[in-house]
């Protein structure tokens, strides 16, 4: 049982503390409740470009000095951007807690004075190289982006990936960056989580000192997060610079944390992950028509998605792969799953969760997520309960309800470009 305390500063900043002295470290983790879903069509990639900008200094911290301050005392740090949130985090030797708070509060409260066109130009180039390296110059690199385009309507906020488009990145101006900061980067849109070796009373005093004076913002822009049904299956075939055909599937689900999403999470472990799982066993181990298969749910806040992919072996038609997958899914819906399969899936959830809690940094990130999305970080102590309470019928039911043609988008990446 983790000791979790959450409270709020006068300016709306939510603070979560988890005291743990087993290592002389402290994890400082901030979740800003803004991601690529808060962008508009034609202005994509901002949340992520902005994440890069936040490492380029603030009023009292020089360009690149943020990295230097943290690394030069033995800290590790980074930031990531997703559909629904942007997180920033550092794990420091615990006697440097105040340093982490100073750095994070400076870029929350004093970022704009240090912003320059030159910094934007450099980071824009870096992000374009990131896009080239991770999307455009590698096989299947654009598959996720294509799938989002296919499965979500152009005006829906999950239609584009966090990296954004080259054109939109090119068009980003200093004013855009300033607006984005003023709208979203504020204490009342943030959760600050501390995990590790500190005395809570001392930590609270430091947090108040550094973050208390930062003013909250005005009203938030409104976003419609209600997804319209697809109105039938969507399919596409993409010729690509790849050696082996690959099938990508997205099944729509309820959002993360709902009972059905949890059952779907267990379902993905029944479908894939080791030799004995349904799809691995049938397609990879027995029929040997697929090189690999994978199924997983994404931790998304607005609406849920179950992703499925399978790579055909050389000379195998992608249609044969699709038929074999659909046969397994139909069999599962018809005959259900065994008690052993459920036990293995719950065990897997249990050990992955234990791994996540093991290190302060991943624990802080989990706690920050629970506070941001559910306003209750103590869920960290009960998260697995609904997994353990799930039945074989629950898992079969979620499969029968959601893994159906009218609820899916299917994309074939085929060799041939």
């Amino acid at each position: 049982m983790l000791q979790i305390e959450q409270y709020e500063l006068g300016n709306g900043l939510r603070v979560v503390l988890n005291e743990d002295h087993s290592a002389p470290l402290v994890a400082v983790n901030l979740w800003y409740h803004v991601g690529s879903k808060n962008e508009r069509p034609g202005r994509t990639g901002f949340a992520h470009l902005f994440e890069h900008m936040l490492f380029s200094g603030s009023e009292h911290v020089g360009n690149n000095e943020h990295f230097r301050y943290v690394q030069s005392v033995g800290g590790v740090l980074n930031g990531t951007t997703f559909f629904d949130r942007t997180n920033y985090f550092e794990t420091l030797p615990s006697n440097y807690l105040a340093l982490g708070l100073w750095l994070e509060s400076d870029r929350m409260g004093f970022f704009l004075p240090a912003l320059t066109q030159e910094k934007l130009d450099i980071q824009r180039e870096v992000v374009k190289e990131e896009r080239r390296q991770r999307y455009d110059n590698v096989p299947y690199g654009t598959a996720f982006e294509r799938m989002l385009h296919l499965a979500y309507d152009p005006d829906y906020s999950y239609h584009w990936p966090t990296i954004g488009s080259m054109d939109d990145l090119q068009a980003a101006s200093l004013d855009d960056i300033r607006d984005f900061f003023a709208t979203w980067y504020r204490p009342d849109n943030c959760v600050l989580t501390l995990v590790g070796d500190f005395i809570p009373a001392e930590a609270k005093a430091l947090v108040e000192e550094y973050f208390g004076p930062i003013a909250p913002g005005g009203s938030f822009p409104h976003f419609t997060l209600e997804r319209k049904p697809m109105g039938g299956e969507r399919r596409e075939t993409v010729p690509a610079q790849v050696q082996l055909p690959r099938l990508y599937r997205l099944y729509h689900l309820p959002k993360m944390g709902t009972p059905e999403w949890i059952h779907a999470d267990l379902l993905t472990t029944v479908l894939s992950g080791d030799k004995a799982s349904r799809l691995d066993r049938s397609l990879v181990f027995e029929k040997q028509i697929a090189q690999d298969v994978a199924a997983y749910v994404l931790p998304t806040e607005a609406t849920g998605m179950l992703m499925l992919q399978a790579t055909a072996k050389e000379g195998v038609d992608i249609e044969a792969i699709e038929r074999a997958i659909d046969e397994e899914i139909a069999r599962l819906a018809r005959d259900g799953i065994t008690a052993d399969e459920l036990t293995r899936a719950v065990n897997r959830a249990e050990i992955e969760y234990a791994h996540q809690l093991e290190n302060y940094d991943s624990r802080a990130d989990l706690v920050g997520m629970l506070s941001t999305y559910f306003d209750d970080p103590t869920i960290v102590n009960t998260w697995l309960d609904p997994y353990r309470a799930s039945t074989t019928a629950d898992v079969a039911a979620v499969s029968a309800k959601y893994l159906v043609p009218e609820n899916r988008a299917t994309s074939f990446f085929l060799p041939g470009k």
């Binding site: 590698v138 082996l244 040997q288």
Partner: protein, 459 residues
Amino acid sequence: MTKMTIDRTTPPQPGPPRPYRFPHITRATLDNGLRVLVAENHSAPILSLRTIVKSGADHDVAELAGLASLTADILDEGAGSRDALRLAEDVGLLGGALGTGADWDASYVSIDVLSRNALPSISILGDVTYKANLPADGLDRVRSERLMELLQQRDEPATIAGKRFAGLLYGTGAYGNSVAGNPESIARITLDDIRRFYGSNYLPNNAALVISGDVTPEAAIDFARRSFGEWARGAEPARPQVTPAPIDSSRVYIIDRPQAVQSEIRIGHIGVARSSEDYFAISVMNALLGGVFNSRINLNLRERHGYTYGARSTFAFRREAGPFVVSAPVRNEVTRESVDEVLLELRRIRSGDIEDRELEDTKNYLIGVFPATVQSASDIASRLLDMELYGLPEDYFDHYRENIDAVDKDEIARVANKYIDPERVLIVIVGNAAQIREPLATLGYPLHEMDIEGNPVVG
């Protein structure tokens, strides 16, 4: 409006440092020669179990490149009384994940598992380690998967660059192959080859067992005896020779990918073995040069010029001298400029031009970050494996931080001059030849072109 209430102009001073100790390690040796290392840690209900066999792809001959890793791949195709599916099911029922693999120096079997199932998990680890069934249909399966994997690598520029760089540096010697082998060698490997490699290398006196996490040392060693005690000793395998030929002048190789939107750059030469007495000085020097985000090479290429998403330098410390390599993916237009900047940084680190602050920053990073890199049971298990594999002293990690701290500027300059030679580098670039050929020719080094398999391109 924000208002100032504290002095934000200078960073706050740290509190007194809190004490840190590397976890206590309990050691035992079984009658068959198997070394057992246990690190007890009850902070999570997890156990990391690892067997390490001290023979890896360095034992592969060129004709059978990939033998060590293919052998590792087939271990989970059935062991003891369990066939492949039963093995996967039983590991899943224990709440475990089973992994096998090989790298240059060693082969591994691992199970990460819920600690309440310690004994049956260690028993399965033993079966997979020394009672693998090595079935013929299992070889068919892993061979086919490996061939597909090698096929897919033809479109992965970073993989191509790494392979060609190693091939040019080490020729047909072990480090010149790929751990994964090549399509011809993988097609050639027979079940007899695998049985021979397994039989002559998977021996308790050529191995170690690491148990890290939520278990007492007494119980762990008892479980080890019960599950590994029957493993029969054998003749210790001979250590293979890796005999690279250092290059005597710089040269450039272009591997054409006409559709590439980035150049994958590799610059370097043969490095140094893990056993080097200069290990700590080289580690600090490389961290300052290109080993961490705020290092010279990354700050130059990424933060000053915006050429890349990330550039780094690495010394591959292996049993014998692995490569020293600087790697960077950069956009086509700045390929030549990026090579220039890397060479400039290699020359500068040798000149002794090192600021006090950057040396202190780098050492403080390596010293301070150490506890954060050994928090989880599996991280600690990896460190214990390193100790066994490279014969590090028992108190190695207790003194790691003071050894880093002892490195000074003169040492940095000395090892930079001894182990980095910017005038004799191999430069390999996977990219759009039509766009980068002419600018690279102006470097003034001999320029060659080859295809992704390493065959020369003529005309």
